[in-house]
């Protein structure tokens, strides 16, 4: 493999030759045992070069990274969402790449008491707690993962981390990487493309239905909880897969910026369900780009639950490019004090008879702020398409806030659009009714909130649903710091 001699587009030209001396300069070695790699703070072409070389990536990927960095550096910050919070991100003060072994070396003693308490209250097993807090890299479910993986291999299903995917299935990755979300899409997608690490790579062959959900949780020993995860899922024709990322338990991270990119490709007649439950600690900026391409007769479902974090900006998108494709986006955002959940969805109807159902639920409490931001675009020629958008916000007190910004751009007349938005407060009558049955105010409120998000919860696997309800209960009791 040649070093840096491949052609580079103009923007990245200045990086030619950069990093050639990284071996000597930084003292990195090629033998695995010497891995203890953390990039310097801040991001520039040197850092990108190092990450890519360190991972021994093919040249084309290194190019992709460099080009993306140029895009990142040249793109202004988004001028919407929580601009104040966005502008307070100190990009110079972040390590953009930390090897897994290094990342996990966090000390249990450094984990905030509030997080530990929550683990305790949720009854999370000891081993798992340490993992969730980033103290250990290994988790017992690794065993489960291995046997799962064998079963999958028999079906021809690929389920691995993205770095391994790139090594072992380079052609497939090369063909699809950034094909759904180009670096130019937005500043944070560009940043992710430049410095990505970890995430999942999934390929499901034609006609294969994966019976059990693929859980990133199972391959927790790798870097799937990295700051800049990159996930690519390809469901070939007529296949079916359910992928689950995250978990309800609070995930403590000392890294304050998390910016993932998830690309889904649903080939004709396939189904992809992507379930996320994220509960970052309250120092985290969670800025995620998620998008799916849905071909004819396919079905893409984003089930997206957001708790925790300081600021979340996330708008799962589906581009319905084939006739009869269907998008389902079901999201819940819970914001408490000093939190802003800016979430929503985006659906582009670019083919006839495509359908979309968007259901957004937001709960705000103790001065928390929830924003729904949605875009539905129906292109001319997408006749017979149907759109159904429903946004419900529940405010638990007068200090909290909810805003809804739905945008509809409809260029075809032969379509059906339904839109409904509600903002409600926990009803006095409901509280009174529940309290007359012996429930105290917290328990009554919890039940109402859990009922409010039940359309979401019922789509989750049982154990997640139970955990989520329990977590909401803790939030209601103000037990989570």
């Amino acid at each position: 493999m040649s070093d840096t001699t491949v052609d580079r587009p103009k923007g990245a030209a200045g990086t030619a030759g950069l990093g050639d001396d990284y071996d000597t300069k930084y003292g990195f070695h090629d033998d695995e045992s010497a891995y203890d790699f953390k990039s310097k703070k801040g991001v520039d072409h040197e850092v990108v070069e190092m990450i890519s070389r360190y991972k021994k990536e093919p040249d084309w990927m290194r190019e992709v990274r460099h080009n993306a960095l140029d895009v990142f550096l040249s793109k202004p910050m988004p001028t919407w969402g929580s601009t104040e919070l966005l502008n307070s991100i100190d990009f110079e003060n972040i390590h953009y790449y930390v090897r897994a072994s290094e990342r996990q070396a966090q000390d249990w003693d450094d984990v905030p008491e509030s997080v530990k308490n929550t683990f305790e209250k949720l009854g999370i097993p000891e081993a798992e707690r340490k993992f969730l807090a980033g103290v250990t890299a290994q988790y017992e479910s690794e065993v489960v993962y291995h046997s799962l993986r064998e079963d999958l291999e028999k079906l021809g299903v690929i389920f691995t981390d993205m770095d391994t995917g790139l090594r072992e299935y380079e052609d497939v990755v090369r063909e699809h990487f950034t094909s759904v979300i180009p670096a130019e899409d937005n500043k944070f997608a560009a940043l992710n493309t430049a410095v990505w690490s970890g995430g999942s790579f999934v390929y499901v062959p034609k006609g294969v239905e994966v019976a059990i959900p693929l859980q990133a949780y199972f391959r927790i020993n790798t870097e799937n909880m990295g700051q800049f995860e990159r996930t690519l899922i390809i469901a070939d024709e007529g296949s079916k897969v359910h992928y689950i990322e995250g978990c309800t338990a609070p995930t403590y991270s000392s890294d304050s910026l998390h910016s993932a990119v998830v690309e889904l490709i649903a080939r004709p007649g396939s189904t992809i369900r992507y379930t996320t439950i994220q509960n970052w600690s309250k120092n985290v900026y969670n800025l995620v780009t998620k998008r799916a391409i849905a071909e004819a007769g396919s079905r893409v479902e984003w089930i997206d639950g957001n708790l925790g974090s300081k600021l979340t900006m996330k708008y799962p998108a589906v581009y319905l490019v084939g006739e009869g494709a269907h998008a389902e986006i079901l999201s819940v955002a819970f914001s408490s004090s000093d939190q802003h959940q800016d979430a929503g969805s985006k659906v582009i109807h670019a083919a006839p008879r495509t359908t979309s159902v968007i259901t957004s639920k937001s709960i705000s409490k103790d001065g928390g702020r929830g924003t729904y931001r949605g875009l539905v675009k129906v292109h001319e020629g997408a006749e017979g398409s149907k759109v159904n958008v429903k946004c419900d916000a529940l405010l638990l007190d007068d200090r909290s806030r909810s805003d809804t910004y739905p945008t509809m751009e409809v260029d075809d007349e032969a379509v059906s659009i339904e839109h409904e938005a509600t903002v409600s407060k926990v009803g006095e009558e409901q509280l009174y009714y529940l309290m007359s049955r012996g429930l105290d105010q917290d328990a009554a409120t919890t039940l109402i909130v859990n009922g409010f998000i039940e359309p979401f919860t019922k789509e989750l696997p049982m154990e997640y649903a139970v955990e989520l309800n329990r977590l909401i209960q803790l939030e209601m009791e103000g037990a989570i710091g």
Partner: protein, 253 residues
């Protein structure tokens, strides 16, 4: 302290209650002894629901003077859920819907809260089953959302199911009978009668004497414009049926 058996379950004295600044109850007196079933009759707007709300502790209803003593204790300072835990139950005239909250989950939590202890699922299930049978409610009810899209009759049956699960010391039934067909009325009456015991008491609030053919009250009171204007035995209900409320209105005037 008085002998327990002689302490009335409920003693309402000179009760004045206002809603939104308007006085609704204007000096109401009522004593319900253990083992007794009292009927409160009155036309719409006479203050029946206001009385039930005041006893249950609905914060929107302001007690401006008078007392409500339950089991020998003034409950003015008790919050709604504390009254419930002490054994007060209200069957709502208009039960509210709780979207997304399943009946089974709701019942489980209510039973746990009132008993102050979790009921193991093993004991809970047969208990529910038994009560569903009494009330002629299909099992499928359990997974529906509380009162969400329920018919009037279904709502009232669910109220009765809760009552049977919670076994209250004082059950207040606010027009549980209205809107029920005769079969449902019989079922509801069976539930109420089944709960009668020497330690418990019941306050059956109704508009019509129909239910009183199935649930025989020990005492009947007529509520008019925020006061009890007449009390008597079961016969009073029949007389009211015959003469209408005008008969008493004239008296009161």
């Amino acid at each position: 302290m008085s002998d327990e058996t002689n302490t009335p379950v409920l003693e309402v004295s000179d009760l004045h209650v206002s809603v939104g600044g308007k006085e609704i109850l204007k000096g109401l007196n009522l004593t319900v002894g253990a083992g007794e079933t009292h009927a409160i009759m009155g036309r719409n707007g006479s203050g029946k629901s206001t009385l039930s709300a005041a006893i249950m502790g609905n914060p929107r209803y302001e007690i401006t003077s008078g007392t409500i003593v339950y089991g020998g204790q003034d409950i003015a300072e008790l919050a709604v859920h504390e009254r419930a835990r002490a054994g007060v139950f209200l069957s709502f005239q208009y039960p509210v819907a709780l979207p997304g909250v399943s009946v089974v989950n709701f019942l489980r939590q209510a039973v746990r809260a009132v008993r102050g202890d979790d009921v193991p699922i093993k004991a809970f299930r047969p208990l529910v089953k038994e009560n569903l049978k009494i009330l002629d409610i299909p099992q499928t009810f359990m997974t529906r959302y509380v009162n969400d899209g329920f018919s009037g009759g279904e709502k009232k049956r669910l109220e009765m199911l809760q009552m049977l699960m919670l076994q209250p010391t004082l059950a207040i039934l606010d027009e549980t009978d209205s809107g029920l067909d005769i079969d449902a009325l019989k079922v509801v009456s069976t539930a109420i009668n089944g709960l009668r015991s020497e330690k418990r008491a019941q306050l059956v609030i109704t508009h019509y004497q129909r239910i009183l053919q199935y649930v025989t009250p020990d005492h009947v009171h007529v509520l008019l414009d925020g006061q009890i204007v007449k009390s008597g035995g079961p016969d009073l209900a029949h007389e009211l049926e015959k003469h209408g409320y005008e008969w008493l209105e004239k008296d009161a005037a």
